[in-house]
Structure formats: structure tokens, C-alpha cells
Point group: C2
Chain length 415, copies 2
Amino acid sequence: MIDGHGLCVQLDALARISSQADGLTRLVMSAEHRKANDLVATWMRAAGMRVHEDAIGNIIGRYEGLQPEAPALIVGSHLDSVRHAGRYDGPLGVLAAIAGVAALHQRGEKLAHAIEVIGFCDEEGTRFGATMLGSRAVAGSFDDAALALRDDEGISLAEAMQRFGLDPEALASAARRPGDCLGYLELHIEQGPVLEALGLPCAAVTAINGATRLAVTLTGTAGHAGTVPMAGRHDALCAAAACVLAVEDAALAAGLVATVGRLELRNGAINVIPGEVHFTIDLRAPQDDLRHRTLASLEAQMRHLCERRGVGLKVSKLHELAATPCAPHMIAAIDRACTGLGLEPHHLASGAGHDGMAMAALCPIGMIFLRCKGGISHHPDESITPEDACLGASLLLEVMRAPGLTSVNAASHKF
Amino acid sequence: MIDGHGLCVQLDALARISSQADGLTRLVMSAEHRKANDLVATWMRAAGMRVHEDAIGNIIGRYEGLQPEAPALIVGSHLDSVRHAGRYDGPLGVLAAIAGVAALHQRGEKLAHAIEVIGFCDEEGTRFGATMLGSRAVAGSFDDAALALRDDEGISLAEAMQRFGLDPEALASAARRPGDCLGYLELHIEQGPVLEALGLPCAAVTAINGATRLAVTLTGTAGHAGTVPMAGRHDALCAAAACVLAVEDAALAAGLVATVGRLELRNGAINVIPGEVHFTIDLRAPQDDLRHRTLASLEAQMRHLCERRGVGLKVSKLHELAATPCAPHMIAAIDRACTGLGLEPHHLASGAGHDGMAMAALCPIGMIFLRCKGGISHHPDESITPEDACLGASLLLEVMRAPGLTSVNAASHKF
């Protein structure tokens, strides 16, 4: 049995470790990172785990299985935050995992596999720009170039690690061997409104969406808003408006999400026909081929729209990340655990990035989403109910206990 | 006969009076204003005119008719400029009028009416924000509140007038009596591409368009670009895009011009669904009822578009100016003069504002547009051919001589 009250008390206690009073801010290699690791370590020990901090500053607790040195199911999430954040994005997954182990420990239950709970030191990338520093180190995909990245005060990651008491030279020791890892499992708030709208507390994640980000420049002809007839115009903003609606239509038709989040006019003035417009496109899909096909047809359509208007179109790629599918046997284990707890199984793709994207290079991954109020995240208004927190942790525990997870040999995972 | 070469030499000489070397900048009550007035005064005197500077700093030359103290046809334009301007917007109309009077003077021709050439001191409003200071003073519609307006250096118009040698207390003396003014006639570059596209050098202006400027705020719901499904979004930018296209469609359907010249996202970010967008609408039409009808149906349509998307719409009026029709007998006189010179008469509405808007409060107005290269104005690339300059001045002269202008009693003009 999960101690739901205890879990909520711990979530609140961890939320008080913040560099600012108004909203939670907890950055990697900071004094708050140290305090959070120390506090989480005490809870891990109380739950019967052996605790150590690895070479990148992840806090790790291990609960042995029936056989010592058995391969481990890694369960966790991240302890860092964006600035002015909420208290559940990250910590929920770490503390719910500890609550599950505590329940096992209390009733003296040992599993066929070990459980390792990891509180990753950095997923958000708030301080140094690069994301998933903690999980990349564990997965062995950490790019050493990140050590030279500097924060707003000019401190490099390597310097910050040393001040934190870590040795950048020893970073490779954080990487785990695939054979030691059965899989990676994470409970996380949905950060979207779907579960709330459906009236469901939980869902299994099918994939972490792949994403492409584009920068688009439209070049028309500036002119006097009073003297140039409509028929002779090459209005870059009218062309951009047609493109924005084309992005929306393409996403609706393909069943994915796409957003124009920035749009700027160059030299915009109330009485001047816009001559140049810049905007961005963020497009995400659970399957890479769907994303690629949608982008190709969208770009062709934008080209057609702009040609008709005599407006120049330039598209450049800012960023591209492949989709990360969750392992079918992990999804199936989550579905079975849902049914076991009397919950309706449901599947969702994750639109946001998570540590599982890095961990998938090491082992099969599975994720559980928990509904959150209004789909709000990255904001102090982020909220879940105590009942849902307890239910999410109970579901996580049942998946941790699932015999199905150990039946798939870790060696069968393709790297 | 117009001295076309002399006119072009004068246009170039006047263009050298600028506060910056790169592009023309000549502001009201500046050292350049003083130099320009003095230079124009010498040309007026050489053309047989009596010259004075009025209480707002307009430079005025009078060429008497057959009877002394006869009512005058006022012919002119403005001598000030925007920053980084071209050399024809304004000066062409003043110097062409002087060239016309010079031609009359040279051949000893006196008309039934007097001619007064005015070089207005301010039409653009570049220095103090308020436009048409010169023509408003002449028309008797100068708002004394403008005396308190300050330029970028904190100097008020009243202070600037005193430094220029003018007495703000005497401003009312610049106003002319309606009975003394037969009409106001102006030659100006088109500032648009229509005449060039039609292969015509000149056109009679039918009206100076009325204009309405609106500020629009759309309020949707910000959200995570990855986690909020398309169907549940209230994207303020998608709503704005639909509105921008509705503005364009409404203008095309009504045969007027409308422009969204500014559009800004509040807190725009590449991975955030836009929650708030601000944009402007500038809509102009030669008839006020057409403008009002189009605006009403456009606003209803935008409201419908936003309601469908669950996006809030707020529209506020920034500025409204009624259309100024040109007098039918002035248009007819311009048409007859075109025919007399072997030019095809053509009619155009003016999308830009002009001194005629103020002068219409005093007397009937007429305007001639001259084609300019690429429709470019308010930029150093502003260009006309010497042949067109000469043709425009010749046409202006023929209209100045037209007996039709004096047959309409100034008293019949409604104020």
C-alpha cells in the first residue's frame, strides 16, 4: 500500500527547496540541487535502499531483488526544474518510485529483479541549455562538448560540477551497462489536458513525439498602405497568415500537433504593407515517417501559397529529434496494471520531451502519464489531486512488480 | 512654356537643403526650413510674385490678376519631409506652381484671378506628430493645443516657432478668408504604382481617401506546443491569421485598401501556443459610407471567426478621418487641360493624406497626380522623369489658367 499522505508531504517538502520564493526554481549543480539530493537520499534510505550519487550528480537508490546483483528496472524522473516552475513535473516520478519501494520494503517483498530509483540531476536544461544531462550520462550518450557550456553568469558546466564536488574527468563512470538494466519506467504528469477531459487518471505513453522546428522567412514588397492597390501587393504578412492556417490544417489532417509560436514583422508600421515576416514552426508526431510526410506536404503547400502571391519563401531547419517509441511489453504491463487497479487502460503520445528519450539508448522504456489540472505545467499553478498522486504511485508500483518486465531479456533491446 | 530644365535644377537645389547627407530630412521650424523658405522666396520673386512668410512659417508668393485684390487660386504643396525622404513629395507641387507663374510672368499674361503659390511649412508631421500644421493654419482649423506638442528633444512647437522668429500669439493671422480664395490646387507625385502600370503620366484625383485605424487584441489560451491537442486549442495567432486574410478579402471585395501593418505576439516562444496577439488595421476608401459599411461587415466577420475558435476579440479605434472629395469643377478643369495637352484624362483616389484635406475647409480643392517610379515615396529612391516633371507643371499651368475655375463663386462652397 502506498502511503499517499506521506508522498504528498514529501512533494511539498521538496518544493520548498527553491532558489526563489515565488514559484519553484531548482537548477543543476546549485545549492538547491545539493539540498534536494540529500533530502531524497534520506527518503531512499528509509525505504530500504542503498544510496549513491553518480558522477553527474544523479541521486540513485538501489533496492536489491531476490538475487544480489540482479539486473535492475530503473524507475525515476528528474529533480531539476524550469524557472518559476510547478512542484510535480519531475519530483512526482522520483518520489512515487520511492513510495513504491517503501511499500515493498515495509511488507518485506523482494522481486525477481532489482529496482533502482534515480533522481536525475537535469532534464530541463534550464541552466546550461543542453537538456537531459543526467539521463544522457546514465545512458552513455553524454556529449563531452556540454562541459564547456556556460550559464548566465559565465560558469561552465565543468566548473559547476567541480564546485558541486564532482570530477568532470570521471563522468564516463556514470554510464550503465545495458545488461544491468531491464528497462526504464517513469511516472510523469501529462502536461496536457487530455486525461482531464476524458475523466481518466492515468494512461500508458505510446511514444515520446519526434519534433522538427523550422524557421521561415517570407519576403514580399513593402509599400504605402494607402497608395498601393490590393491587386498589386506582395504582402508578406498576408502570405504568412495563409501559411499559419496551412500549418494548423496540416496538423489537424495528419492527427499530430504543429504550432507557430513566434511571428515577427520586420519594420512593421501601421501604414506600411509588410515586406518581411519571420515565423517558426514546431511540429511533433509519435511516428517519424508521419512527421516527415506532413512536413514535406506542408512545405510544398506553403511554397504554392507564396508563389501565388509573389512572395519569397525560405525555410530552414532549427532542430530535429526522432520519435522515441515506448516498448510494447512496457505498454502492455502498464495496461495490465491499470486493469488490475480497476482503471480503464488508455494510450497517449507524449508531446513534451522526457528522460526516456535518452534512456531508450540504454534499455526499453515505459511511461505513465498522470492527469494534471487544466493541462498546466512549467508554472506554479501546476496541480494534481492527492488521490491521483496516490493512484499514480500505486500504478507505478504494480508495473514495477510486473513479472512481464523480467521475461523480456534486456539483451533483446536494439541499441 | 514651362522651363523644364530650370524646374529640375530647382528641385535638385532644394533637395540639398537637408539635415542629413544620406536621404532628405527637412523638418518644420529647423535651420533647413529657414534656408528652404529663403531659396523658394528668391524663385518666387524671380517669377514676378510678391512674397511674404505667414504666421506659421508658410512661404507665400502672390501673382496679381487683371484686377488688384482679386480672389486668388491657391496653388502649392509642402516643403517639409519625412526622415530619409525623397525629393519630389511636396517640393514638386511648389516648384511646378512657381514655374507656371514664371511662364505667365515671362509672357506678361495676367489672369482674371490672382495666383498665390504656397510652400506649406509642415504636412508630414515628422517633428511634432500633428500633420498639416501649415495648411491647417491657412484654413483656419489650426488646433492651438498643437503648440504644446514637443519634438524628440523636448522642444515645444511654440518654443520652436519663437526660435524660428515667429510669434505663436499671432498664429490666427495666417488664416485666410473664404471669399479671398477661389480654390486650392496641388500637383503631387502619386506615391503609388497605378499610373506607371497604366502608362499614363497624370490623373485627376477624385478624393483623398478617408481612413480608419483600428487596434485589435485577440486573447486565446497559451499552452505547451507539444501537449495540447489541436482540437482543444484556442490559438490567438491562428485566429489572427484568419482575421488578416479577412481584412484582405474585405478590401478586395469592396474595392478599397486595407492593411495589417503591425502584428505582435505577447510572450511568443517557439514551443508555446500563442495566447495573445495584437494587430492593427488601416482601412481607406474614397467614400465614407463605403468605408463604414466595409468596417462593420469586417468586424462582424472577425467576431464570428474568433467566436468559432473560442478566442476573445477586442477592437478599438485609434484614428478616423473622413474622405475629402475633390470639387467636380476642379476635376473637370483638370480633365479638359489633359485633353488640351493631348493626354488621356484619368481619375484616381488618393490613398495618402495631403494638404488638400485641410484646405477643403476653406475652399474647393483639386489635385493632380504625377506618376513616379515604382510607386516609391518617403525614400531616397523616389523618382520621376524630367519629361514628366515638365508635363506635370504644364498641366498645372493650364488648370491655373482655366476660366472654369473662376466661374464658380467661392461663396458657393459649403464649409
